[in-house]
């Protein structure tokens, strides 16, 4: 080849190097300026938070530290005094929920109770429960609507509350690339909000629209914060992660009932331990006509619907 060698023009070389260097410096400075909002974002997050390991890998001491930090942060960011527990599953328990569709009248009290109990963002009015108004005689959700208004119940309609079904074959768990979500021994599917990377793959995978993403930092006025919290449950979530219904594990693992059940005025909701032979719930599952949603998908819900 007869190409000229590239570097012999020495006098040009240093001048060009200077010009290029100048441009590179300029570009780098412009880049730093462009991404400066990141500094603001970084100042909200502590190094301890960044380094924190997965929930299942924390030693008891580390867990205690993490929880103390989270409580302090809630005080600082929300002005609320809270206690965050680390409620673990009770051996020999498998929680199951059932709803009597003959009784549910679509009043939506459960939706509201969930919103308050779980410290959801006030401005987006988030809740883990959605109620569909459905025409009588069909289980086809395509015919339903979640945005109904007016007095309930309406003639010719029935109401189908949907929330996380705590699937036994949960697609949301399978797809998570970082194991930020998993199923616990008592059947509750949980999320480590401090491990989730916010890819929202689980949201795409869940067939029941049960997952919510924190598109912004949740806003809850200090006096409305529910102070009884748990690490894997209703503590105020960080921005940029997903969350979901946990069957109120901060209540149910302490022997109480879920908030949505307590709020329901019609008594349509039944909650209990399916391993307990004498439970009301067990009797219903054995004696009623029971349905599960989207059975054909093989998700094996721990959530049942029945008619009288």
């Amino acid at each position: 080849m007869t190409d000229k060698p590239s570097l012999p023009i020495v006098e040009n070389f240093s001048r060009r190097a200077a010009v290029k260097g100048g441009f590179a410096t300029l570009g780098a400075a412009a880049f730093v300026a462009a991404v400066s909002p990141l500094r603001q974002a970084a100042s909200d997050k502590s190094a301890a938070e960044f380094m924190q390991q997965h929930y299942t890998e924390l030693s008891p001491e580390q867990k205690a530290d993490v929880i103390a930090r989270l409580e302090a942060e809630t005080k600082q960011n929300y002005g609320a005094e809270v206690t965050i527990g680390d409620d673990r599953p009770i051996p020999g328990t498998k929680f199951v929920y059932a709803i009597n569709l003959s009784v549910c009248n679509g009043n939506g009290n459960c939706v509201e109770a969930c919103h308050k109990e779980n410290n959801h963002d006030r401005s987006t009015n988030q809740s883990y429960i959605r109620v569909l108004e459905m025409p009588m005689g069909t289980m086809d959700m395509e015919q339903g609507t979640t945005t109904y208004t007016g007095a309930v119940p309406k003639d010719g309609k029935f109401y189908l509350p949907v929330q996380c079904q705590q699937c036994d074959e949960p697609p949301c768990v399978d797809v998570c690339p970082v194991k930020a979500t998993w199923k616990e021994e008592d059947g509750i599917v949980v999320v480590d909000y401090n491990w989730c990377i916010g890819c929202r793959y689980c949201e795409a995978a869940c067939p029941y629209h049960a997952r919510r993403f924190n598109w912004k930092k949740p806003e809850v006025p200090a006096e409305e914060v529910n102070p009884d919290q748990s690490y894997l449950s209703n503590r105020i979530r960080p921005v940029g992660v997903v969350e979901k219904c946990t069957y109120c594990l901060h209540r149910t693992r302490r022997g109480k009932l879920p908030a949505c059940l307590e709020a329901c005025p019609t008594g349509a909701r039944v909650f209990g331990n399916i391993l307990d032979k004498d439970s009301n719930l067990r009797w219903i599952l054995e004696n009623k006509r029971v349905y599960i949603l989207k059975e054909e998908l093989g998700t094996k819900p721990a959530f049942f619907y029945y008619f009288d």
Binding site: D3, P5, F31, V35, A41, P177, I197, A204, A205, F213
Partner: protein, 415 residues
């Protein structure tokens, strides 16, 4: 003696490889006024995108128009398309090495450089889509917690990064040998080139599996998704390379590109028809069968319950794809004086595939939602800025890569 041949004193690769990279970068930033103007424009666009992204991280993803119903939007749409572009780059390799097309040997590196730029863009789009980019390290094997082999996303991380490394190796090796003034040793790159063919198919198949493995999303839950992805990738990749080669020829006067352009045109002629055939058979199954599965397709093509945000996108894509297909079928397209028409046809096929793989595939998967709510999605300005920024960065990478390879391209291979 050629422009980037090393001085004779180099002994060890440990010192001479960095020297090669430095020299390449130096040369890649040499150029005409038009080149500097182009790079300046790309840098400016990139900075706009970087700033928009920084704001997104600071303020939360509320700045995007995504919702809990439509939880993936423009970013994942572009990601999907870029995977296709990366896989499509391999269409240079197949004729060159499987069919021993000598002319392709000289320019095969263009396809590999495109793959590198496209994968870099893929990774950037994924990061842009993360709610918590500060936790990216959770995704790394060993130090993070890697859900392998169950999560398809972890597979995707592996195959994409593997493909990136593979192509960096092939390109790096070939160019480095030129720099040293040596003949490349086939044992050091031919096996990798063959592997890259399989690998290219795997990256797009795995990406399709991300979607078609979700039982709750009937629009994606079709076995045809992976083959459809590949067919459209083998349109968009070659289309991009044809336009790039026409430009390279114009701007640098490098010869020997006409025959590769012809080969690629012939490839598109087939793949574009295969793609249309698959789209048609999918539509037939959807609409003739009817039932619950059809609502997303109905929404996409005709709108549902008065909501029609995607309809214009879809019909634009169909119009572009069909027109491009007709042009490619016309033998005269290869004639030299019809070059502008060939470029136009490539652009149409490219944009058509972009819409089809993006707004036409990802978004309707979420509409109606799993509870049959119809929540529409139109990307926000912030999302467009980030997207343009990433495209500008990708073009920057591609431009620099091509400039690095120019001395090699100028010289016909001797094997």
């Amino acid at each position: 003696m050629s422009s980037i041949t090393a001085s004779a004193d180099e002994k060890s690769h440990i010192t001479s490889y960095p020297k090669f990279i430095g020299r390449s970068l130096w040369l890649a930033t040499e150029g005409s006024f038009a080149f500097y103007a182009w790079m300046t424009m790309l840098t400016a666009l990139f900075l706009v995108g970087a700033n928009a992204w920084a704001n997104q991280v600071a303020g939360g993803m509320i700045g995007t128009n995504m919702t809990d119903q439509v939880s993936w939007g423009l970013y994942i749409a572009n990601f999907t398309f870029m995977v296709g572009l990366a896989a499509g780059g391999v269409m240079m390799v197949i004729p060159a090495y499987l069919y021993h097309d000598r002319k392709m040997h000289d320019v095969v590196i263009i396809g590999e450089l495109l793959a590198i730029a496209a994968i870099v863009m893929c990774l950037m789009f994924v990061v842009a889509d993360l709610g918590r980019p500060d936790r990216f390290w959770h995704m790394m094997p060993i130090i993070g917690k890697f859900n392998f082999p169950i999560s398809m996303l972890t597979w995707d991380v592996i195959v994409l990064n593997g493909y990136l490394i593979l192509n960096l190796h092939i390109c790096g090796y070939l160019l480095y040998m030129r720099f040293l003034g040596r003949q490349p040793n086939p044992t050091w790159y031919i096996p990798f080139v063959m592997l890259s063919i399989v690998w290219a198919i795997s990256i797009h198949t795995v990406t399709a599996f991300l979607y078609c493995g979700l039982g709750g999303r009937p629009f994606w839950n079709t076995a045809l998704l992976a083959p459809r992805f590949l067919a459209s990738a083998f349109v968009s990749g070659p289309a991009f390379i044809i336009v790039a080669m026409v430009l390279i020829k114009r701007l640098t006067g490098i010869g020997g590109l006409d025959q590769p352009i012809e080969t690629l045109t012939k490839i598109i002629r087939v793949t574009i028809l295969v793609n249309l055939l698959m789209v048609a058979s999918e539509l037939f199954t959807e609409f003739y069968t009817g039932g619950a599965h059809v609502s997303a397709a109905k929404y996409l093509f005709f709108g549902l319950h008065g909501k029609t945000a995607l309809v214009p996108w879809t019909w634009t894509a169909i119009g572009l794809n069909v027109t491009a297909a007709l042009l490619f079928l016309w033998p005269g397209l290869l004639r030299f004086r019809w070059r502008p028409l060939l470029v136009a046809a490539c652009c149409m096929a490219f944009v058509g595939a972009w819409i089809e793989k993006g707004m036409g595939l990802i978004i309707p998967g979420f509409i109606p939602s799993t509870l049959h709510e119809i929540v529409e999605y139109v990307p926000s300005q912030l999302e467009w800025k980030v997207t343009v920024g990433i495209w500008a960065f990708g073009l920057m990478v591609f431009t620099i890569a091509i400039k690095t390879a120019l001395p090699t391209l100028k010289q016909p291979a001797k094997h």
